[in-house]
């Protein structure tokens, strides 16, 4: 199925998809070799959005890299902030006050809602459901972005977390506003599920397409919703229990087929679990300081050492590896981007499928090129 018929090699057609193709979620290029409509080979080409993030970070102070992490996965800046703050806190042994931990969980779960809602809109757009689902998803995303703006000052480039806490406390009425958004969100999810989940055309298009086996997911270090759609029970919120996640009761949804439809459904289910966490966190959030009083914006020099801090980002395991030599700049700074590592199996998912399916499979992987290329 995956190799061309003997004697027909010269009839293969090599086409270049991207980097400016709207379905590639940014500037991503694929060299696709086709036998008729079927994909025979697929070579991803990336680096168009490379911004030298990791090398720049070696010449910045530890705090100076925080706004750059916003720009990794620019849809979910708050989880990127958390991943980096967690790594530095581990390196320097800083503790985080209770209220800041709650604020981190709240903002991170809101980010997860936002990312999954946007992704589902984009995925349906890739399948040809032009406009409508994306507009519905973006209508809800806008409410969460408003929350972020009134808390952090920016809609997308939040730069909110600091080593040992968060930058500012919630403004008056913010928590009530957040509670209202969380209370209204299930209604949107119900509608969004009714819209296309049982649609026969969508099921025909996605079921059994782009299957990622559990074994391949494990051997290629796939993480996040993509791994869980293949039935791999691996959620760092449960495995590591970083922050205060062990306090909340939530379940980890798992798929069984690993096809596009499972990856589509798993995001709906994860959003429902995120809402559960949000409800608990917004109910229990205590008063108190939001940042460790010892933490100062200037003159931060952790002791020599190294550490790897990781969180469950909306796209998968987001990790930061840092080496400190005792100077104000990290000696080595490395990001483990979930988008890039989830993208490595793209060829395996696409082989033997039609070229139109490549677009949908890529959409279901959930990449953001800011994070793939860094």
């Amino acid at each position: 199925m995956t190799s061309p018929e003997p004697g027909h090699e010269e009839r293969l057609l090599e086409i270049s998809m991207g980097p400016q193709h709207p379905s590639t979620h940014g500037v991503f290029r694929m060299n696709v070799v086709l036998d008729g409509e079927r994909v025979v080979r697929l070579k991803p080409v990336f680096g168009y959005l490379h911004r030298n993030h990791e090398k720049i970070a070696e010449n910045e102070t530890y705090l100076g890299s925080m706004p750059y992490t916003d720009r990794l996965d620019y849809i979910c800046s708050l989880t990127n902030n958390w991943g980096y703050a967690l790594a530095v806190e581990k390196l320097a042994g800083i503790t985080v006050p209770e209220r800041a931990e709650y604020l981190r969980v709240i903002t991170a779960e809101l980010t997860r809602l936002l990312n999954h809602a946007a992704l589902l809109g984009f995925l349906l757009q890739d399948m040809g459901a032009s406009g409508t689902p994306l507009m519905y998803a973006f209508r809800e995303r806008e409410k969460i972005l408003d929350l972020f703006e009134s808390l952090t000052g920016a809609r997308m480039m939040c730069n909110y977390m600091r080593f040992g806490g968060c930058r500012v406390d919630t403004p008056a009425g913010w928590l009530d506003q957040a509670r209202k958004v969380v209370a209204d969100f299930p209604r949107f999810l119900d509608e969004f599920e009714k819209l296309l989940v049982t649609n026969e055309i969508l099921m025909e298009r996605t079921q059994g397409v782009g299957v990622l086996s559990r074994e391949l997911a494990i051997s290629s270090a796939i993480s996040g919703p993509m791994a869980r759609a293949s039935g791999l029970n691996y959620d760092i919120r449960k495995v590591d229990g970083y922050g205060i996640y062990p306090r909340f009761s939530f379940r980890v949804p798992l798929g069984s087929h690993g096809d596009i439809y499972d990856r589509y459904m798993i995001r709906f289910l994860e959003m429902r679990e995120s809402l559960k966490i949000l409800e608990q966190a917004l109910r229990e959030i205590p008063d108190g300081p939001i940042i460790d009083p010892k933490s100062k914006p200037r003159g931060f020099r952790p002791k020599p050492g190294e550490c790897y801090g990781r969180i469950e980002g909306p796209k998968g395991e987001l990790g930061f590896y840092l080496i400190s030599d005792g100077s104000p700049n990290p000696y080595r700074y490395r990001v483990r981007p979930p988008s890039l590592i989830n993208l490595t199996v793209l060829e395996d998912l696409c082989l033997g499928h039609n070229v139109a399916d490549v677009v949908v499979i890529l959409g279901s992987v959930d990449i953001v090129l800011g994070e793939v290329d860094r």
Binding site: Y68, N159, L196, T198, E200, R298
Partner: protein, 215 residues
């Protein structure tokens, strides 16, 4: 029955379409240039320099310590320190920026300059319509363009500005008390420590209390 799912989805689209005529929830579009959403208070855009009193030049809080220039992650701030001194917001004679430029084509609105500023001199603006046909000079804001009054700061970020004013007032009171203490009991000590007995601040000490609003 096949086709069920499609019909269900279409019913949902219809509900949203007709709902948009009656419910504000389903029609969230704003016709931008005519109609604008209310400004969110903590929103931020590019930095500006705060000055007290009426004259931007005399009342500028910045003392050209160049901390923001050093800490700015994309290095978009350029400062030249003055040769002479003038009294700052608390009344101490300080340097002032002879040149203070921010290249807003490089600035990434991270507000780290605001966090590290020990003098509450640099704050974030909310003005976002800054188009220009000169991409180099037009986006390089000098200190005159950056200077905005404390009243303007109160207008855009009322809560934050009141907290800053309260802190500054406390500092001024402390400085005044220290001066009084130094002057009254031990005139000899005061003469020994302070050749720099500060001259009276001209316009710096405009008291704006409202400490109740401070967080």
């Amino acid at each position: 029955m096949i086709g069920d799912g499609i019909l269900k989805g279409l019913a949902e689209t219809a509900r949203n379409f007709f709902g948009s005529y009656v419910s504000k929830e389903r029609l969230t579009t704003v016709q931008y240039p005519e109609e604008k959403l209310p400004q969110i208070e903590s929103s931020r855009n590019f930095p500006f320099l705060v000055y007290d009193g009426a004259e931007w030049d005399a009342g500028m809080r910045c003392v050209a310590c160049q901390i923001c220039e050093k800490e700015c992650p994309p290095k978009c701030i350029f400062i030249e320190k003055s040769k002479d001194k003038k009294p700052d917001a608390v009344g101490k004679p300080q340097f002032y920026p002879a040149r203070f430029d921010i290249d807003i084509s490089v600035c990434m609105s991270c507000q780290i300059c605001v966090e590290v500023c020990p003098f509450d001199a640099i704050k974030m603006d909310v003005q976002f319509d800054l188009p220009t046909d000169d991409r180099f000079g037009g986006l390089m804001l000098d200190r005159h363009k950056l200077a905005k009054s404390n009243e303007y700061y109160h207008e855009i970020h009322p809560t934050e500005a009141s907290a800053v004013d309260a802190a500054l007032d406390a500092e001024r009171a402390k400085a005044a008390a220290a001066k009084a203490a130094a002057a009254a009991p031990k005139p000899a000590a005061s003469a020994a420590t302070g050749t720099a007995a500060p001259p009276q601040p001209p316009a710096a000490s405009t008291p704006k209390a409202s400490e109740g609003e401070a967080k």
